[in-house]
């Protein structure tokens, strides 16, 4: 017994010794790295070794110092695995402020849970996670783990600065492979060049390193860290993916491989369904009309459910399965729609895309790799390419919205992959037009109606409320308009799902004491319909360029019929500004006891120099000032 104890104590000493060679005293962190940081990566060493096409090992060693509780989530280690990825080992130590080892941990301490979210019907990824509990800040954890992945198509990329609030003292990434394994890579914002070498065993090595990277803070109107952050992404020339071999150098090869291996044999439908579709579209000539009919059939027959299973989550369910169960994830529904269209004699392409509402993330035109998080369908009609989002039962035919518009996607076709670009919704197309007519009584009570149309990406602005039951709508609607004491008489939504889709909102309402009568003066807020409540905060030392993803045009006309015998006591509003990124005008005219308020706000999409940000802050402040305009009326 004693011997055994001694031995394990000895082993503990050895393993701690193996870690604690470096001094991680928190006071050794260069002072400038502390600014905006909750965590400092003291040292990170990632080694990816492609031992074979079906044997890739990742060795990660990382020491991070957590400066305050905001950094705890980064110290929360989470290692994902599935049928292809096996965790070989995990071990680590916790170190106090002064560099003294205070605890050690191993894989045994990690909790093993499913990575599925509530909305997933199934997800085969699991995760082992653990956070050492340390109450004194700053503290450091140093840990090391190794995983082995049986596939070599999707290699771990290097993102040494994964987010804001994190500074890096030093990070190194090394790719090790056999001399005949050809690796392609693309580097972003790399301060120093890659070092290529050979190990004494004859393996080829590529080494990237960065050091002394300052932490960043959140910046509004900035997207895609690739603009300014360091990263290296990888793609193999030859690979094995869940038992399928392949090779590619460009998008054409990759798309072809995906089509041949993951898609080609998935599209068989029962004869009955094929016949049904043929009958459904029999008397139509125009392939677009046929496609619309088929698409609407698919929509009423299916709904979206997230299921991540098999072949790394890249292969769709069989079309015949979807035909039977009536649900599927994006891949399954696109594949099914494609099969139905084929039955109607319409060709279409399965397209991989990065869906993201916040930023337009394009597949890189000069670097092919396995990327994307969504699929959509492309109809390559002559001079009229049409795009279909297949996961929504209510979205109009040919409509993508801001989730997938204006970006490169990979079409997987029998002739090979094609990099295509989805259509863009322009500043002029994204339009909310509002017309309101109100009467205001002598006591400040308001009554009237508002009619609004939403187009372009704004078509989906009322997505949630449109879906809801009327009783719920009446509740939720009150959040859209800053009208106090709002009482809704009628509320209607209509959606025109043509190729230029429009959402219509019509509301009749009244509001007691909209205006305040004090000392014979009637005060009320001019803009009851489209009130900007917050703009952008001024920031110092901005790093990212300003990106406006989508342009929008908002136009409002409000007519107030006022009680007879009153005149305006405040100065009429008249504002107009024009900037490269947008324009704004607001005016008030008073005539024959009618007050007409016109407002137009336009913001233009694009990427602007970071110095423009200050102008944007000022621009929005002007808009808010104008929106806050209070009308004061006095009796004539």
């Amino acid at each position: 017994m004693i011997r055994a104890k001694l031995l394990s104590a000895l082993l503990l000493l050895i393993s701690i010794a193996a870690f604690a060679q470096t001094n991680y005293d928190a006071s050794l962190i260069p002072k400038d790295l502390l600014r905006y940081a909750s965590v400092v990566v003291r040292n990170e060493e990632i080694t990816t070794e492609v031992k074979d096409l079906d044997n890739v090992s990742y060795h990660v060693k990382r020491a991070i110092t957590v400066l305050n509780p905001n950094g705890d989530n980064i110290a929360h280690m989470a290692i994902y695995y599935n049928k292809s990825i096996a965790i070989k080992y995990i071990k680590g130590i916790a170190i106090n402020e002064f560099g003294k080892v205070i605890a050690k941990f191993s894989e045994h301490d990690f909790k093993d849970v499913s990575a599925a979210g509530n909305s997933d019907l199934f997800e085969d990824f699991r995760v082992k996670h653990y956070i050492p509990s340390i109450t004194q800040y700053p503290y450091t954890i140093e840990y090391e783990y190794e995983t082995r992945d049986k596939q070599s198509l999707s290699l771990e990329n290097w993102h040494p600065v994964p987010g804001n609030g994190l500074a890096v003292e030093k990070s190194t990434y090394q790719m090790v492979c056999k001399p005949d394994f050809v690796i392609r890579y693309k580097q972003f914002n790399l301060p120093s060049a890659v070092i290529i070498g050979t190990t004494k065993e004859g393996m080829k090595t590529y080494t990237w390193q960065i050091s002394h990277v300052l932490a960043r803070k959140d910046e509004s109107l900035s997207v895609d860290g690739r603009h300014t952050l360091t990263s290296v992404i990888f793609a193999p020339e030859k690979f094995n993916f869940y038992g399928y071999n392949g090779a590619f150098q460009n998008w054409s090869d990759l798309g072809k491989w995906m089509y041949d291996n993951l898609l080609k044999n998935r599209a068989t439908l029962p004869e009955e369904t094929i016949q049904y579709i043929k009958n459904l579209t029999a008397d139509m000539q125009d392939p677009k009309l046929k496609a619309k009919k088929v698409y609407e059939y698919m929509q009423q027959k299916t709904h979206y459910i997230s299921i991540q299973i098999g072949i790394g989550g890249w292969q769709p369910f069989l079309a015949s399965d979807v035909d039977k169960v009536g649900y599927g994830d994006c891949k399954a529904l696109v594949n099914y729609t494609q099969a139905l269209l084929k039955a109607a004699g319409v060709d279409s392409w399965y397209c991989v895309v990065y869906g993201d509402h916040q930023q337009k993330r394009s597949l890189l035109s000069d670097f092919a790799n396995l990327e994307g998080n969504h699929v959509i369908l492309c109809l390559p009609l002559k001079n009229d390419t049409t795009w279909l989002e297949c996961t929504s039962q209510n979205i109009p035919f040919g409509y993508l919205g801001d989730f997938t518009d204006d970006r490169n996607v990979l079409a997987c076709t029998p002739d090979g992959g094609k990099l295509l670009h989805t259509p863009k919704y322009t500043t002029e197309q994204n339009r909310i037009t509002r017309n309101a007519e109100f009467t205001l009584s002598e006591t400040g009570d308001l009554a009237g109606q508002i009619s609004t149309t939403f187009k372009g990406v704004d078509y989906e602005d009322r997505y949630e409320i449109v879906e809801k039951a009327q009783t719920e709508r009446l509740k939720d609607f009150k959040w859209y308009y800053p009208i106090n004491n709002i009482d809704i008489k009628t509320l209607e939504y209509k959606q025109d799902k043509s190729l230029d889709p429009t959402t219509f909102e019509n509301v009749k309402l009244s509001a007691r004491e909209y205006g305040a009568l004090t000392d014979g003066k009637l005060y009320f807020s001019l803009n009851a319909v489209d009130h900007l409540s917050s703009g952008y905060k001024p920031v110092s030392n901005r790093i990212n360029p300003v990106t406006i993803n989508h342009g929008h045009t908002y136009e409002d006309k409000v007519t107030y019929t006022l009680p007879v015998g009153w005149k305006l006591d405040s100065e009429p509003l008249n504002v107009e500004i024009n900037k490269p990124f947008g324009s704004f005008s607001a005016s008030l005219t008073f005539k024959d006891n009618q007050l007409i308020y016109l407002r137009k706000l336009q913001v233009k999409d694009g990427t602007y120099d970071k110095e423009v940000y200050g102008d944007i802050v000022d621009f929005y402040n002007t808009v808010i000032d104008a929106d806050n305009y209070n009308v004061i009326l006095v009796k004539k």
């Binding site: 502390l34 600014r35 905006y36 909750s38 305050n68 905001n70 909790k111 093993d112 849970v113 499913s114 599925a116 019907l121 509990s133 340390i134 109450t135 609030g165 803070k217 009423q300 027959k301 709904h303 979206y304 459910i305 299921i307 039977k324 169960v325 009536g326 649900y327 039962q393 209510n394 809801k468 039951a469 009327q470 719920e472 959040w479 800053p482 009208i483 106090n484 004491n485 709002i486 004491e513 305040a516 004090t518 000392d519 005060y523 009320f524 807020s525 009130h531 409540s533 703009g535 905060k537 001024p538 920031v539 405040s570 100065e571 802050v617 000032d625 806050n628 305009y629 209070n630 004061i632």
Partner: protein
């Protein structure tokens, strides 16, 4: 107190025929398929036509006790809107180990719809499309999506869950997010077991019958009669959540069970689980996860020695112990009233749930000679406590009650930024039960004198160019100070917090800043800023308007419903005070001195008041909003709503300065 009807169903056992039966599986009628809307709720996207559940205590093949639960549901979907929420069925299963676990079997589902020719078609659930996921060591989930859903379809599904856990006898939710035409639950409980049943929510049962089923369970030569009890509701409306509601659980109609007594099948010995508080007192006192932990004062004596050295005053000692526990064990975010792994483990590993931390706190305070009891409670999200009979299951949290002199202090050491004697909002819920090792337990109200309180003091001087310059001070007091500290600590430094704040208020430019008392938790956080205010109006005809409500204007009423179905839960009383002083240069006068406004809620529930004073060159405008209660009844709702309306109306007025 929440309005809640929670009552024990009084059973009148009668020897009559069994009254409820499951509806037949695999049948659909034309009426259901042809239904286009639900007359009693025309805006519903789906309605549960029928729902029947049964739980029966019996044996498995090896004579182990097993509860068999069967649920059978029929839903009509009018359109596709509810497919996402109602179209996927999820059941969680618990397992203690490999031999003792819940299991699900007999999952079946059918979807019926009419094709274009008006013929009824049906699609059955494919067994291979049932997904089982091991979420963690003890919990698995089973999920399946209803097959072939389409607008207008009728879906039927059923499954069976078997469970060895007599303490977790399944309850029944009568109310859910879609309306139900009929919902029935039937239980068969052999006389060996006695359960309490209670009904939550305001809805009444439409029918409730009980009969005795003779010799329903036999064991060897002995046999027992069963109570066969049926609970039913017809026309159950959809449950609609309202803002300012604590836990929907408090208001949703459901039935829950608690095991009271068990008779051993072999020996006939009766074991009482929970009948009286004195039973629970005894249970908790002796449980390894509770009473045993409270006795481990020796564990803490050494650890506390340096913390307590030199301290003689009880309050001083208590504060030192409180800070020691806060600094030693980090909260893992989990709620519990028990310390299953023990407080030693928590002290050594520096991590624990609320049970580990606060039982350690109680024990440590007692070890330090501060008489302290444990208060077991239910957090707001967990719902109100069952008061009809002693029920440990309705608790999920524990705090400490330190008795020092004539004062008692309620303490929770899970939040490092909480000052001594203040509780996190989650604890302010209903009543808590006080336990100690030497006295019978008793109830206390989970209320503390704590308030949310903010005071603004703004001192401005009007400049020639129409701008105003001066200082703005914000005092965050009471619970607001805690929230403010949490907000500040989200930033890595005060400078970053200041950068964040400086763009916060439209029209006010912040120049210099100072924040004090961030770390002295017992004092208000004071933030002082030098500010420049730009009135949005320009100077016209020598007049300029300024809204005295410079910050935190309430643009729309937070209470928007015409009629409220459930009480408003404000959390805790709050007070906002605001004083703005404007110094006018001699060439200016104020054109329109504002009239004071005052509006009060009934029952001293709160008020809104403005005041104005001037000596000609210095004007002082102030207002105060007080919300004195934490809960307002539906009858008080219109007054509360009107209070906010009055604030919004007052905010529309402007001060107009005129150049002489």
């Amino acid at each position: 107190m929440r309005i809640l009807s929670l009552f024990i169903i009084v059973l009148a056992l009668a020897f009559t025929k069994a009254s409820a039966q499951d509806f037949p599986y695999g049948q659909v009628d034309n009426d259901a398929l042809n239904m286009t809307k639900y007359a009693k709720d025309t805006s519903a996207h789906a309605v549960m036509i029928n729902e029947y559940g049964t739980s029966r205590i019996g044996f498995d093949n090896d004579y182990n006790i097993l509860i068999t639960y069967v649920r059978h549901v029929k839903i009509k979907f009018f359109d596709n809107r509810d497919f996402e929420t109602e179209g996927t069925i999820v059941e969680g299963l618990y397992n203690s180990n490999e031999t003792r676990y819940e299991d699900i079997t007999d999952i079946k589902a059918i979807t019926y719809y009419k094709d274009e020719n008006g013929n009824i078609q049906h699609v059955e659930l494919d067994k291979s499309k049932i997904f089982r996921t091991r979420e963690n060591k003890h919990i698995s989930t089973v999920k399946f999506a209803l097959p072939a859903l389409r607008s207008g379809c009728v879906v039927e599904f059923t499954y069976k869950i078997t469970s060895p856990y007599l303490f977790e006898f399944k309850g029944w939710d009568f109310q859910s997010s879609i309306p139900k035409i009929k919902s029935v639950y039937e239980v068969h409980i052999p006389g060996y077991w006695e359960y309490n049943a209670s009904l939550a929510g305001p809805l009444k049962l439409s029918f409730n019958t009980a009969v005795v089923e003779r010799s329903c369970l036999s064991y060897g030569s002995a046999s027992a009669d069963c109570s066969d009890i049926v609970y039913g509701m017809n026309d159950v409306p959809a449950f609609v959540e309202e803002d300012y509601m604590t836990s929907a659980k408090n208001f949703k109609s459901a039935i829950i069970y608690q095991l009271v007594q068990e008779t051993n099948l072999q020996s006939g010995v009766k074991t009482k689980y929970t009948k009286d508080w004195k039973d629970i007192d005894y249970l908790l006192k002796t449980e390894s996860f509770f009473g045993t932990q409270l006795k481990r004062t020796s564990l803490l004596k050494d650890r506390l020695a340096p913390v307590l050295s030199g301290k003689t005053d009880q309050l001083e000692k208590a504060k030192a112990v409180y800070n020691f526990i806060k600094g030693t064990i980090k909260w893992d975010g989990h709620h519990d009233y028990a310390s299953v792994d023990g407080i030693k483990q928590a002290l050594d590993s520096h991590t624990g749930n609320s049970g580990d931390i606060n039982l350690a706190l109680v024990t440590a305070l007692n070890a330090a000679g501060v008489p302290t009891e444990a208060v077991v409670l239910s957090t707001r999200a967990n719902g109100v406590v069952n008061k009809l009979y002693p029920d440990l299951n309705s608790f999920n949290y524990v705090i400490a009650k330190a008795n020092i002199g004539d004062h008692t202090y309620l303490l929770d050491a899970t939040e490092p930024l909480l000052p001594f004697g203040m509780l996190p909002l989650r604890c302010l819920n209903d009543q808590g039960r006080v336990f100690s090792l030497d006295k019978p337990s008793y109830w206390i109200d989970m209320t503390t004198p704590q308030r949310e309180k903010t005071t603004y003091a703004i001192d401005l001087t009007l400049q020639d160019d129409g701008k105003l310059k001066g200082t703005l001070t914000r005092f965050s007091t009471g619970y607001t100070a805690f929230l403010k500290r949490e907000e500040i600590k989200k930033f890595n430094s005060i400078d970053e917090y200041f950068e964040h704040v400086s763009g916060d208020i439209h029209g006010i430019k912040f120049t210099k800043s100072a924040v004090s008392n961030i770390d002295s938790l017992d004092n208000p956080v004071a933030e002082t800023y030098e500010v420049e205010v730009n009135p949005s109006d320009k100077m016209v005809n020598n007049r300029i308007g300024l809204s005295p409500f410079l910050i935190e204007q309430i643009k729309t009423n937070p209470f928007k419903l015409a009629r409220r179905d459930y009480p408003v839960d404000w959390g805790m009383p709050s007070e906002d005070r605001y004083i703005v002083t404007v110094h006018l240069p001699s060439q200016y006068t104020l054109e329109n001195p504002p009239q004071p406004i005052s509006y009060g809620l009934p029952n001293q529930g709160g008020n809104f008041m403005t005041d104005f004073t001037t000596d000609g060159s210095t004007l002082t405008f102030s207002y105060i909003t007080r919300i004195n209660h934490s809960v307002y009844s539906t009858q008080e709702y219109p007054y509360l709503k009107e209070l906010f309306n009055k604030i919004i109306l007052a905010e529309k007025n402007e001060l107009v300065f005129k150049k002489k």
